[in-house]
């Protein structure tokens, strides 16, 4: 909706592009050919009933699961695999740990259950990756971390352990932690659904701010109000396929009956 520098430029490489993505767990076919394109600087909200594969899709993008079929490109680069020569043929090869980590560095992810490191303070949580992954100096990392924590409104809680913070505060630390890696794309998997109704607002506000700043975001959520206000693109999934897709207006005018039905339940 707002401040989209690149998405009006049709030639820009999509931030994330999923092409006929399949995912199976054992014999359970969870994603059955999902296509999705996320433009840089845009906000995509994924809706869908429980078990429809929303989380699985996000996790595939961040390589927490391995693809069974299809391809996902981030920033125009195929993730998880590369082509190598073998016996004169071009074949796919799985990336190694280091290459995977490099690709993940472009993506920040925020989980439903926060997953803060309980043995570190808020500040240490945010400093962890800059110091140990990007090998930034301690002092510099500390300044960065303080900056990010202030950005999410937690400048006063630097030395608190996660167990001393409320849910909303914890989720904001998690966001700061992801932001400290300067990702190009942020992935949110139901970031507010483990929170008390009153605390949801805190986190949604931070996300709103990010969207305004032009961050590319993919958000799985049940907060329809948020979707309506912030999303550039709505993707409705059910049974492992994308059922309906479009601008935020489709929330109020769903065409597919399944989507209609879903919206009735959630609203």
């Amino acid at each position: 909706m707002m401040s989209n520098t690149t998405k009006d430029n049709p030639k820009a490489v999509p931030a994330v592009k999923a092409i006929q993505v399949h995912k199976a767990f054992g014999d359970l076919h969870v994603l059955k050919g999902v296509d999705m394109t996320v433009e840089p600087g845009s906000v995509t909200v994924i809706l869908g009933p429980s078990g429809s594969g929303k989380s699985t899709l996000l996790r595939l993008i961040n390589q927490l699961e391995t693809l069974t079929g299809g391809e996902i490109d981030v920033d125009g680069e195929m993730i998880g695999y590369k082509y190598v020569e073998k016996n004169g043929q071009r074949v796919l090869q799985t990336l190694n740990d280091k290459e995977v980590a490099a690709q993940r560095a472009k993506l920040g992810m925020v989980f439903q259950r926060f997953n803060l490191f309980p043995h570190m303070t808020a500040l240490e949580n945010v400093m962890e990756a800059p110091v140990h992954v990007q090998h930034m100096g301690k002092q510099e990392a500390k300044e960065l971390a303080i900056h990010e924590l202030e950005r999410v409104g937690l400048g006063e809680r630097l030395d608190y352990y996660p167990s001393q913070l409320s849910g909303g505060q914890q989720q904001r630390v998690a966001i700061a932690r992801a932001l400290a890696m300067k990702p190009e794309i942020m992935l949110f998997d139901e970031p507010t659904s483990a929170l008390d109704p009153e605390l949801v607002g805190e986190v949604l506000n931070v996300m709103l701010g990010l969207a305004r700043d032009g961050m590319t975001m993919i958000v799985v959520t049940h907060e329809i109000g948020f979707a309506r206000e912030v999303a550039d693109q709505i993707v409705f999934m059910d049974g492992g396929v994308v059922v309906e897709q479009g601008g935020p207006e489709i929330i109020d005018n769903p065409t597919e009956p399944r989507f209609k039905d879903f919206l009735q339940h959630v609203l």
Binding site: F25, H29, G51, S55, T68, G69, T94, N96, D97, R113
Partner: protein, 327 residues
């Protein structure tokens, strides 16, 4: 984990990815080195003349050795059984509101963990010497209602299991305590809300769930106990396995092959115990390791597990963490 099937191999996935695995030299080299070591070890074991395998073979089924096994097992089972009961009591006492009980439990654990079991066994062996008669009477006076010669009660066998059990209880008490504490407190509340009384809650709700956590370290202790029984020659109780083989070796002056005989039997029994342990773990794991059936909504976290994202499961986690960690 490693030899699990490929995901979706029975499904029709048009654009299935077939990729070469990433090349990991680390684990391969490590595996080769380790395998070589193992091979050398086995070769050394078999070909080294010092081991005198013919003597090992000859005495493997010697009747004293077989009787030794019987008593070793008997001691292990009796003393572990008693130790477990005692340990549960101690663990509960340790948390009592009554300071005397709490203190006694603390002292017990401190004392019995703090002194060597060998020494304890020596004292139990000398019990009849130190305390010639056991009686019921009024303490610190000479009034006595009933008494018995301790030599006839504390026989060598009784002293042996008594000493082992009392010592083991102290170690197990800590394990039991950790197990009880690991059960979700919500379980007690739910049970209370149903009008269950404390003993009932402990018996029906807490203990069965704690078992899951208690069993693996108890398996360790059980296997340890098997070997600890050999210390009962301090009492002296002289019918268990280690003593039986040592007696033969002092007569023959062939310690090495007879140590191997004992080793083999201990290994056999340990293997059986490990099988039993995994059975027990399965039994007390019921309801915990079941996979969700049908559509899965948000699952309640299992006791002792954080909720996590719905798709996290421990196996996957391990795979994730450990895959290639060995590189």
């Amino acid at each position: 984990m490693a030899n699990k099937q490929v995901d979706g191999e029975n499904l029709d996935i048009p654009n299935r990815i077939k990729a070469l695995p990433v090349r990991r030299t680390g684990p391969v080299v490590a595996a080769i080195v380790v395998a070589l070591f193992a091979a050398m070890l086995v070769q050394g074991l078999i070909t080294n003349p010092r081991f005198e395998w013919h003597i090992v073979w000859k005495y493997l089924f010697n009747e004293n050795v077989l009787e030794g096994i019987k008593y070793t097992l008997l001691l292990t089972v009796i003393s572990m059984a008693i130790a477990i009961v005692l340990a549960v009591l101690l663990a509960i006492m340790r948390k009592s509101i009554n300071p005397v009980l709490r203190g006694v439990s603390w002292f017990y654990i401190w004392f019995f963990r703090g002194t060597p079991v060998y020494t304890q066994l020596v004292f139990w062996g000398l019990f009849a010497v130190l305390v010639p008669r056991i009686g019921i009477g009024i303490p610190f006076t000479s009034v006595e209602f009933w008494s018995i010669d301790s030599q006839s009660v504390i026989t060598a066998f009784n002293a042996a299991w008594l000493g082992l059990a009392l010592n083991e209880a102290a170690y197990l008490a800590e394990i039991v305590r950790a197990g009880l504490e690991a059960v979700d407190p919500g379980q007690t509340e739910a049970a209370k809300a149903l009008g269950m009384k404390r003993t009932l809650i402990m018996r029906r709700i807490i203990l069965p769930q704690a078992m899951r956590i208690i069993i693996p370290p108890t398996g360790n202790e059980f296997i340890g106990m098997l070997k600890t029984t050999s210390l009962v020659n301090a009492v002296p109780f002289t019918l268990e396995l280690q003593f039986a083989t040592t007696a033969i070796s002092t007569r023959l002056y062939k310690p090495i092959p007879l140590l191997i005989v004992a080793c083999i039997w201990y290994l056999v029994i340990t293997s059986i115990l490990m099988v039993i342990q995994s059975r027990l773990e399965k039994h007390f794991g019921k309801g915990f390791d079941a996979r969700p059936i049908g559509a899965r909504g948000k699952r309640t976290p299992l006791p002792g597990k954080t909720a996590g994202e719905p798709k996290d499961d421990v196996n996957k986690h391990n795979e994730a963490v450990f895959t290639g960690m060995t590189a």
